[in-house]
Symmetry: C2
Subunit: 192 residues, 2 copies
């Protein structure tokens, strides 16, 4: 997605060989016009699947997923990472391991909002090692819903997230695929 690659090049900054900072338009300040285009791009890749829900995870997944859900005219559900005042029972939960923090956290989705009648599109902002996505996949599995596919705004292709998800048999669509962040340069996978 050209407009997204341009945003990453011009408004992103390479923090290390492994981390790209995109706070200026995705992770802290949100460029809503870009989110509209991201939503449309996600929809065009997952057309014709009778999607009934978009599922993401707080916090940065919400904005890019919002427009996709809106375009599809379906609800957006976001998994919680921590206890919420109103979510106390009747929950799907799954464990997500964090390599950086070396800890396991529980993500939760209320059973009220996901059932075996649903056809789910999982969307999130960044695909790194895929742990969060695996947690969401597990939640969908527990609900009995069908998983149509998984979309990411940015994939770090030098990490093993995509492999993990594809090995588990899932379709993955990433709007920008970063091959390398070495030498403070962003190199995309589709570059010739």
């Amino acid at each position: 997605m050209e407009q997204l690659q341009k945003a990453i090049e011009e408004r992103g900054s390479v923090l290390s060989d492994h981390v790209i900072k995109v706070d200026q338009f995705l992770n802290h300040q949100i460029d809503t016009n870009l989110m509209v285009e991201i939503g449309r791009e996600f929809i065009s890749r997952f057309q014709g699947h009778d999607i009934t829900k978009v599922l993401t995870i707080e916090t940065s997944g919400i904005a890019p997923s919002f427009m996709a859900a809106h375009e599809l005219n379906v609800p957006l559900v976001f998994a919680r990472k921590k206890k919420s005042l109103t979510m106390t029972d009747h929950l799907y939960t799954s464990s997500v391991y964090s390599y950086t923090k070396e800890e396991t956290n529980q993500i939760t989705v209320s059973k009220d909002f996901l059932s075996s009648d649903d056809r789910v599109l999982i969307l999130d902002d960044i695909l790194a090692n895929g742990q969060a996505a695996l947690g969401l996949i597990d939640v969908v599995k527990q609900s009995g819903a069908s998983l149509v596919g998984i979309g990411f705004v940015i994939e770090k292709s030098f990490q093993d997230g995509r492999d993990k998800l594809e090995e588990a048999g899932h379709r993955v669509e990433s709007l920008a695929r970063i091959k390398s962040l070495e030498g403070s340069n962003v190199t995309f996978l589709n570059e010739v």
Copy 2:
């Protein structure tokens, strides 16, 4: 806002005399069409103020604020409540006290995204005791930006949030104002 009051009555549930659960369309599952209407209603109340940024706080503030920012064609910035991978320095921070948890947390906004040139509209999902809003106001003050006003989707008018904000001299707009949650009934302030 009639459509919002109807959503609260039909899709909300009263958890106690003090807590309304609106997970079905605002706090966990998001009704994006309703968010579009909420965004438009916020804009109509704050017209003609040359707003340059919408400021909210993660997580539930993002969806209702997204459409408002989009309609105004300005960026949406969301304050972080916890450490983020990419936000390490150059930050405005403010303390927010939680009565329920009896603890103080730091909220942060990068200095990159708020300056004295900005005219800010603060938006959030629920106004209860106003502590989170006071934290956002403090961040705006630190940046030197002008504060145009503060908008909430739902105000619990039986709590002192609105008074605190108005006593501090700020304009507050709430799309639904709940007078009472007693006896498992939602009573709105505008009801005759």
